[in-house]
Structures are given as C-alpha cells and as structure tokens.
Assembly symmetry: C2
Homo-oligomer: 232 residues x 2
DNA sequence: ATCTGTGAAAAGATTCACAGCC
DNA sequence: GGCTGTGAATCTTTTCACAGAT
C-alpha cells in the first residue's frame, strides 16, 4: 500500500510509527529547553541529548514541513506548539481510570499528566470499599456509572488498570461505551475492533527486556562512549 | 557490522530487538496456555491470539533452533522453559526500587513480579517520613545504605522511580554502585555508560502516543476485522 | 492434511553525504 | 563557519511462498 512521500506541511499528519515514538521524546526535551528559556536548538544538540544521530532528528522533524532554519536550528517554542498540535494535546482531554488498585491510585495521584494535556477526570472500581474514596481530583465511582459518565464527560481515552482476568471483558464494555483508546496495564494482549487504539504497558515485560539486555549484550559492541537510553 | 544468520541452537542467543520484544509476549501467553494445561500450540494459534502473522511467529521462534514439529506445533512447556532461559529469568533475581512515592509503592505492592523471576527485595528513599515503612516484602531504607545493600544482595537491576530532576544524578550513582540495568520511570532521557541497559517507561508519553493514534489514524485502513493491540 | 523452517522479495527505517541556505 | 533538507545507499524487519517433515 503506497504512502505519501516525505514532507507535508498541513495539520494532522501521518508519520512512520517509530518516528512518532521519538516525536514524544523530542517534545519532552523541547519543553524542558523552553522552560530554561532556550530559543533555538540544532539537530545535533537534540540528538546528543537524546541518543540519536543528527540526521535522524532532521528526518523526523522534516515530516511536517520546513521547521528548521539552516545555520540557526529549530525554534523551540514553535516546535513545542506544533508537536502538541500533532499529538492533539494542545487541548486538554479527559481520561478515565478503570480499576483503582495500587497502580490506579498511583496514576490518579500523579501530577504530571495535566501539563501533557490529559486530565484524569473519572475513576471507577467494582469494590465497595474503594467507591467514594477521593483520589487526585476525582471520587471513585461504581462501575454502573461507567457508560453514563463516559458519555457525559465526552471521554475517549481510558487507563485500564484492572486484573488480567477481567481486562478483556472490560475492554469490550469500554469499546461499546464509545472509548477509542486504551492504555492497557493488564498483562494480557487485548483484542479490539479495527479503529480502536491500544497501547500495552506491562512492567514485568519491561523488566524481562532489561534482563535480556544484561544477559545477552548486542554483539560487536565494546566501546567507551556514553550512550542514551533506547526507546520506550 | 555483519551479524550471524538465523538459527542458533545454543544458550544465550542474540536475536533482533523487535523479535525480543515479542518473545516476552509469547512467553506471557504460553504461560497462560501452560496453566490451562494445553500441550502444544501452532504458530497460527499464537499469531491469532497476539495479533501477529503465523510466518512472523515462526521466524521469531526459529531464532533458537528447531523448536517446533511440522504437523504438530510447538511444545508449550518446553517453550516456556527455553524462553525463560533466554531472558535469564529461570532463576529469580533481586531488584531494588529507588524512590518510594506513590508509583514506587504501587510497584512494591504488585504481586506479579515474582512469578516472572524478579524479587523486589530492597526499597530506598530520601524522605525520613517514608524510611522504616514496610511495603511488599521490604522495609524502606535510607539512601545512605544504597551501595552497601546493592553489594550485599548482589542487585544488578533497579526500578528508578524518583522525580525527574534527580533521576540523572541517581542513575550515575547507581552505575557507580554496580547496577547494570535501569527501568526508568522518570520522564527524562538518561545518559549512561556503554554496557548499561536502560528501559524508559513514561506514562505521559504513552498517553500521547495513544492520542496520536486516535487523531491521525493510519491511512489506507478501513476494515472490519478485529485487531490485537500493538507492541509495548 | 497440517504445520514448520527458510530462502527470496518487499517494505520500512537509518545512515551517509552533500547541495544549498543563513 | 554552522546548519537544514533530502536523495541514495545501507541495514533491518516483515511478508510471501513453498519444500519438506509428521
């Protein structure tokens, strides 16, 4: 299936998946630079801070038109704005947390989502002991309310933090309720209809990957230079 | 730099990075099948459950020798054993949690790591209010004890759950203390020496990826069939 | 008939290297 | 001088398709 060639200067652009992963990382670092008052940044500086080559940074950023100026670099503030628009996080959107075990509670208490464009505005659980408890800026509600609250608040994304055994049936129910994106912390692969996005986050899997990297280091590597962390 | 061709039947094998990511997912599913008492599984069944093609499953599993039998499939139990050996999780290893904020506490309380080969056996924090508190199976210790405990317990992997502002300096200290793998929950890119493995896990970044997928769906997709979640 | 293992082809991603702008 | 944008080359990953094992 053919896909358009590189640059594209209008809104809501398609970019290759691995590029999109890095765009988030660029954005995070550019926000830091903006806070520090830095005006412009070169592909070289970005690459060094993030463990990428300068060529790769330029290719990635070239996906949405001519953003850099030769001899100068990229304008930090403009870049942040454009990246947020690409992710659709220039406006804050509401997110529900399904399952308020220890992980769900930790996420509800985390203060960093809002500045990234996400407001955790509803929380649900089955357990009567948890219902009514106030966490972050929401009160835990019973699951009966799920469909109603999702519709009322226009929620399209949820964080799924329920036990593995019930994750698939809950995902089905969420999709019926109109959810289109699921951040899945349950250690199972979800099956969802076409058009629904799922990002899996399994911490045991991540530890396993780390164990592999330690036990079976990449061949041909022997060097001294400081490296940056791989993607995530 | 040339790399060996495909199959390799001895221990601790190199496989392509994207294959290794999937191996964890195969293992998770195979463990489930083993619990259900299933003896063998075909590449087709694995693929369907996990949203992959059967050819891809076969290529991935072929990296460590002839494990399947034509006309029959793969032996579930043998596969689980071999995958655990590849990840080095056939023996339990000790992991320390650095930073006992709400996320650190949630991880310490999570019961699922042990069966995956990881024991969270030490926890550290700066805050006097947190020190001495008992969480999961450990008592929170002051950071002064860090180097001593890491050496005593032979800890090689840590979960880093400290604020972004201090993550890099803590990573440097951990590396000096002999740590070789870091699961990094701080929303910054760490710079570490060659030979140290870092896996970044930034939940805001994951939500951002989800937002992108919802706002800019892949072109040329329109279908009906049920899909599985992408990798993670 | 079912299912694996694997070359060969296709698609995707990264690196190289350099023309051209500031 | 420094720096971007981008074709061309290289490397990696996925898909195809089928020989051969059970």
């Amino acid at each position: 299936m053919p896909r358009g060639k590189q640059p594209n200067s209008s809104r809501s652009i398609w970019s290759p998946p691995l590029t999109v992963r890095r765009l988030s990382i660029y954005l995070r670092y550019l926000e830091e630079l903006a806070n520090q008052g830095q005006q412009t940044v070169s592909s070289r500086q970005l690459g060094q801070a993030l463990g990428l080559t300068d060529a790769q940074v330029r290719k990635d950023l070239a996906w949405f038109g001519h953003m850099g100026r030769p001899g100068v670099g990229y304008r930090v503030a403009a870049m942040v704005e454009q990246l947020r628009a690409i992710f659709g996080t220039d406006k804050v959107s509401s997110v529900a947390v399904i399952g308020v075990g220890s992980l769900g509670r930790a996420l509800l208490r985390y203060k960093g989502f809002l500045s990234k464009g996400f407001r955790l505005s509803a929380a649900f659980d089955v357990s009567p002991q948890r219902i009514g408890r106030s966490l972050g800026e929401c009160v835990v509600q019973p699951l009966d309310e799920l469909e109603k609250v999702i519709a009322q608040q226009g929620i399209r994304i949820v964080i799924l933090a329920v036990p593995a055994a019930v994750a698939q049936e809950m995902a089905d129910r969420l999709v019926r309720a109109g959810i289109v994106g699921i951040l899945n912390f349950a250690p199972v692969t979800l099956t969802v209809p076409e058009g629904i996005a799922v990002i899996p986050v399994d911490m045991a899997v991540q530890l396993e990957q780390l164990a592999y990297m330690i036990n079976a280091p990449r061949p041909g590597v022997s060097g001294r230079p400081r490296r940056r962390q791989s993607s995530g």
